[in-house]
């Protein structure tokens, strides 16, 4: 499973929360791939996924959160997706 967090540089809100989210994702799904994408460097990809606001989170190439979730919300979403996949 691949989690991608789109952020804009200088977003203080992102910096504070993303370590927590990353740790939550890694605890929830073994071997998860965590990527942090500067939206200015990956603009086409962000637009392709439908990212319209920041920060945003996509899982396996699908936009799941258009604002930062709480660690609990992320954990629930990842569990739901891994259950669906299995």
């Amino acid at each position: 499973m691949k989690v991608e967090l789109f952020y804009s540089p200088g977003c203080s809100q992102c910096a504070v929360v993303r370590e927590d989210l990353k740790a939550t994702a890694e605890r929830t799904v073994a071997g998860i791939e965590w990527r942090e994408l500067n939206v200015l460097e990956d603009l086409d990809y962000a637009v392709e996924l439908g990212v319209l606001s920041l920060p945003a989170i996509a899982v396996d190439g699908e936009l799941i959160f258009s604002s930062l979730p709480t660690p609990h919300q992320l954990r629930d979403a990842l569990i739901r997706r891994s259950t669906t996949r299995n």
Binding site: S8, G10, C11, V39, A46, V47, E48, L49, L52, L54
Partner: protein, 143 residues
């Protein structure tokens, strides 16, 4: 100090537009004259220039209201404004993508309707629109 007519002329917008801005909370008169007319100052003119420029960049009035709040907030920094500009760029890029897809769909319809002499009842464009077959490419699958 300027009455609404003078302000409108100065910033090149209609009086109705200024009243609309006022209803939307984007500008407000600094005072009322003795006869009850709204009175504005040069800061009002600067604010309206700002609103017009932001509209040209694609910001909605609600977004402009937020920008104006940021503009006047001492603790706000340029990064707050930049984030909004980046989000606006994302929205514009998304719209461009949708418009390109629409243009491509129209290309296809135009090519399919090569016989201009056909009666309108047999027009392939009308038929395609009725069948709703002008499908937009799914995100990520634009060729």
């Amino acid at each position: 100090m300027l009455k609404i007519g003078k302000l409108a002329a100065l910033v090149d917008v209609s009086i109705d537009t200024l009243r609309y801005y006022e209803r939307e909370g984007l500008i407000e008169p600094v005072d009322r004259s003795e006869s009850g007319y709204r009175v504005y100052d040069k800061e009002s003119a600067r604010r309206i220039h700002f609103i017009k420029q932001a509209q040209h960049c694609g910001f909605t009035l609600a977004e402009i209201r937020e920008l104006l709040v940021l503009r006047g907030r001492e603790k706000a920094c340029c990064g707050d404004v930049r984030s909004r500009a980046i989000e606006k760029k994302l929205q514009i890029e998304h719209k461009i993508r949708v418009m390109r897809a629409m243009s491509k769909a129209l290309d296809q319809l135009i090519v399919e309707c090569a016989d201009e002499a056909q009666p309108v009842k047999e027009c392939t464009i009308i038929a395609a629109l009725e069948r709703a077959t002008v499908l937009m490419p799914a995100p990520g699958h634009e060729s």
